[in-house]
Amino acid sequence: MNSLELILVAGLIVMALVNAGTLFWATYLDHKLRGRPTPKHYDVHVEGTKVFNDVDMAEVEKRADAQLLHAIQIASQRLEVSVNKGVEQLAAHVNDVASDSIRNEFDKYQASLRALNNQTVEQFAQIQTDLETQRTELLKQLQAEVTQERERRLSKFNERINDVVSSYLAETLGNRVDLGAQSAYILESLEKHKDDIKRDILT
């Protein structure tokens, strides 16, 4: 359960407590009203001294009941308004508290996310650097191996090609070589190397 959920549960509990408190308050007021000491009725039988007759008494009771009802209605309305106002204030307060808590948690969450992000970026950069270094080394190694293998194969190929060409020429031409046709080429080739040959002879 994370912090947000804890806050929400706490808010619900507070709301439940507020409602319970409100109900308790209403019950208390109701009991208070009901527990008001009722006027004692004394049966005074003074036949000769009756202030109100039965008709007047009924009228007085009726008016008193009406006034009492009116007073209860007003008190009830006031209580309702007061309770509603209290509930709204409480809700607003709970909202503020929850918002503050959420904001704080969110800020912390953002900060930790940012830190995590930075750490991840650093780690990725490090990994990238390592990979690049490794790749460069591998590439160098591979190039060296390729070059070595190429040289080896080329050398082997040259050895074989020398044999192949020599065999091919010996088999195909044999003794049927027309040197007369080659004399121009031979003299031309000698002419090209004349300076080198002269130098070799002098040394």
Binding site: N158, I161, N162, V165, S166, S167, Y168, L169, A170, L173, G174, N175, V177, L179, G180, Q182, S183, Y185, I186, L187, S189, L190, E191, H193, K194, D196, I197, K198, D200, I201, T203
Partner: protein
């Protein structure tokens, strides 16, 4: 060194043979001169090889002059020892005309007393391999083919 070698006398072996022949000729000429003083009978002149005749003729040496022959023999021996020798390998043994062309080229362009040996190797295909001292000039067709491997298929007709 003013010795002039005929174009057909090109190899050290030929020159060695000529030296031997010259030595014989010189000794024969000396004997003939000695006998001529005592005897009036005519003495038969020794038979000379074509190469020696050419050599003597080209250098204005008389075969009857023993002292000139001795001097000339020494000169030929010196030439044999000091003349530059070039070894040429061809795809086949060259005919006389071609030998003359090559020898002439060396004596004109390189050294007037160049000596040349010829040998054949069929796997050269053509061209020549020239060895001068410790240096080797591979001017053969085989070298050309190997140096242009990418075009080998053209020769094979593939």
């Amino acid at each position: 060194m003013s010795l002039s070698l005929p174009v057909d006398t090109y190899s050290p072996d030929q020159l060695s043979e000529l030296v031997l022949e010259l030595q014989d000729l010189s000794s024969a000429a000396r004997d003939a001169n000695a006998r001529r003083k005592d005897d009036t009978t005519s003495i038969e002149a020794p038979t000379l090889s074509v190469d020696l005749s050419q050599l003597l003729q080209q250098n204005n040496i008389s075969p009857d002059d023993p002292s000139a022959l001795e001097t000339f023999t020494k000169e030929v021996v010196t030439t044999l020892e000091k003349a530059p020798t070039v070894h040429i390998l061809l795809a086949a043994m060259p005919a006389r005309a071609m030998r003359r062309q090559i020898v002439t080229w060396f004596r004109t362009e390189i050294n007037a007393q160049s000596l040349v040996t010829f040998a054949a190797r069929s796997d050269l295909g053509g061209g020549a391999v020239v060895q001068v001292g410790s240096h080797l000039y591979d001017l053969s067709f085989r070298r050309l083919i190997i140096d242009h491997k990418a075009r080998i298929t053209e020769i094979a007709g593939v």
